[in-house]
């Protein structure tokens, strides 16, 4: 459904994207992860033809965004972090103006979508009086008109309260279930990605450093919270077993490592072990590892 091939982009001579490629299959929810400035929004900007790529290609439903942007964008609905509407107009008028740019504004279809996003009571109020959650639901309504095949969501749950986040997540999952909607989800909320996405890509400094299924990302390497003194012996043993630091007193070892063997080795070398607790590597650990924020 969406194919991104070898995208490169420079801002003021600095590489913002370096050969980013990935593919989102029809009906899939795909997460794009990365810390601020990693290149997620630039990627989305190029997909939406708002940012010009230095090189590379983007295809939406087989149509090149670079060569036929209007035709390609017919299939797309998008939501941005903190969506900007015309605050001095009603939600309904905002929908009319924005959807009108895509073609005909169908009143019945619009009413149906407004009802689905639960904005019927306030749709004729000025957007300036909307809460953040209501603005996000209006953004969702405009993205769903007229009938997109793929939704591009740029940090859509940013600033929403837990209730709003859950509502949004359930809505997107419902769309996929009902209509087989394809979704590209750009977020730094790992729990959201974990709960919603089928596959994820991690971008670091403009490069794609990981791509795979969420389940694959959450690996089964043995992790342990380990406290022992002196720390010199602890570091030596961990190193001998090929372990890596996950965080404060948390370590991960290569697959097949037996934690009792590690503990035995510590005791044999004269260390005083005060805590051994098995821990499971979270998506966050893997994300931080890939995006180089942790210090192994």
């Amino acid at each position: 459904m969406l194919k991104v091939q070898n995208l490169t982009k420079k801002f003021a001579g600095k590489n913002a994207l370096r050969g980013v490629s990935f593919e989102v299959k029809r009906g899939e929810i795909y997460g794009l992860l990365g810390h601020n400035g990693a290149g997620k929004s630039t990627t989305l900007g190029i997909i939406l033809s708002m940012v010009a790529a230095e090189s590379g290609e983007v295809f939406i439903g087989g149509v090149s965004v670079l060569k036929k942007p209007q035709e390609a964008l017919c299939k797309v609905g998008s939501i941005f972090e903190a969506p900007a509407f015309y605050d001095y107009m009603s939600g309904w008028d905002n929908l009319k103006v924005l959807v009108g740019l895509s073609g005909r504004f169908e009143k019945e279809a619009a009413m149906d979508v407004v009802e689905r996003v639960d904005l019927t009571d306030r749709i004729h109020s000025k957007v300036g009086a909307y809460s953040h959650g209501m603005r996000q639901r209006l953004a969702l309504a405009q993205a769903l008109l007229p009938e997109p095949e793929i939704l591009l969501l740029d940090e859509p749950t940013d600033g929403l309260d837990p209730e709003g986040i859950k509502w949004f997540r359930d809505f997107i999952l419902g769309l996929r279930k009902e209509r087989g909607m394809t979704v590209l989800f750009n977020s730094h909320l790992l729990s959201e990605v974990e709960q919603m996405c089928d596959r994820v890509a991690i971008i670091r400094a403009g490069e794609l450093v990981y791509e795979g299924a969420v389940d694959e990302l959450r690996d089964d390497r043995p992790g342990v919270r380990l406290q022992a003194k002196p720390s010199k012996i602890l570091r030596g043993v961990v190193c001998d077993f090929g372990g890596q630091k996950l965080g404060e007193d948390r370590w991960v070892f290569p697959e097949g490592t037996e934690i009792p063997d590690v503990v035995r080795s510590l005791i044999e070398r004269g260390a005083e072990v005060s805590e051994v607790t098995p821990v499971r590597r979270s998506l966050e650990d893997v994300y931080l590892e890939h995006s180089s924020l942790s210090k192994p």
Binding site: L48, F80, Y86, M89, L101, L152
Partner: protein, 281 residues
């Protein structure tokens, strides 16, 4: 049809904003003020002037003549501020507020977006000038009655004309207002061009007004009097030739061709800049 629907949306955005109406309100107040000054201060002096020059008093002190003075005095200096303000906002404000990303994510070309916005500000400009003319005339009618023709006097453009026939006078003045509206499109185009650049909306308006006023000042410098033809503001003032007894159509066509060429050039330059821009948070 789709273009017209989209233009309707663009006009809705423009006219739903309160600041769009600042100009209308200020002009209504200004017209009322000018008219009061005309009636209570200027009328007597003009009637004296008319008598001394053997001009029928009812010509000089008529609602149509008052309308001519109101439009002529106010539009260039005061009107230009509102045209620059609205046109300077039209692209830059949406970019600044983030609305432009919502618009650009739609399957519509950047050229079309700009054409829609340009059409909207041009409609605003022309209708604004006609609004000022009609409301000025309406107020003058209310205060001075419908009697009398039109007396036109503009020493800088070497025009002195008298139209005792009311219908002809009205027709001439209305045509003049339409041409004045076209002239003011140049200020609007300047504002629009600067609005397409990567600058704040206020900066776009200030830049447009700066260019306009610099041109106006240069045009009025005595040692440049023989080169007036090269200044935009002189060409813009050519609307007044419609009120000359024998209308110099060649000169009008020449000036308006230059002005329209300038508008098209400014639009194309603005489009080229807008097309090459990246829109990102």
């Amino acid at each position: 049809m789709m273009f017209l629907r989209q233009l309707q949306g663009e006009l809705k955005k423009l006219f739903a904003r309160k600041r769009t109406y600042i100009g209308y309100v200020v002009f209504l107040i200004f017209e009322a003020l000018l008219l009061s000054l005309w009636i209570y201060v200027g009328r007597e002096q003009f009637e004296d002037l008319a008598k001394r020059n053997f001009i029928p008093v009812e010509l000089l002190s008529s609602s149509l003549t008052a309308t001519y003075w109101i439009m002529g005095f106010s539009m260039f200096l005061l009107g230009s501020i509102y045209f620059a303000l609205v046109a300077g906002d039209i692209v830059a404000k949406e970019t600044e507020d983030g609305n432009m990303r919502m618009v650009l994510s739609r399957p519509v070309s950047r050229l079309r977006i700009l054409v829609l916005k340009y059409c909207a500000v041009i409609i605003y400009t022309v209708t604004f000038v006609i609004f000022v003319g009609l409301t000025g005339y309406g107020m003058a009618l209310f205060a001075m009655g419908s009697e009398g023709g039109l007396f036109v006097w503009n020493p800088e453009m070497y025009i002195l004309a008298v139209y005792p026939d009311r219908d002809e006078a009205f027709q001439r003045l209305f045509t003049g207002a339409c041409f004045m509206g076209l002239s003011m499109c140049v200020v609007t185009s300047l504002g629009f061009f600067f609005s397409c650049l990567k600058i704040k909306p206020a900066a776009a308006s200030v830049m447009a007004l700066s260019v306009f006023f610099i041109d106006f000042v240069l045009q009025n410098i005595p040692f440049l009097a023989n080169h007036k033809d090269v200044f935009i503001t002189f060409r813009m003032a050519n609307w007044i030739y419609v009120l000359q007894e024998n209308v110099p159509w060649e000169r009008i066509v020449e000036s308006y061709s230059i002005l329209m060429g300038l508008c098209v050039t400014l639009f194309i330059l603005g489009w080229m800049v807008f097309q090459s821009r990246d829109f990102k948070t």
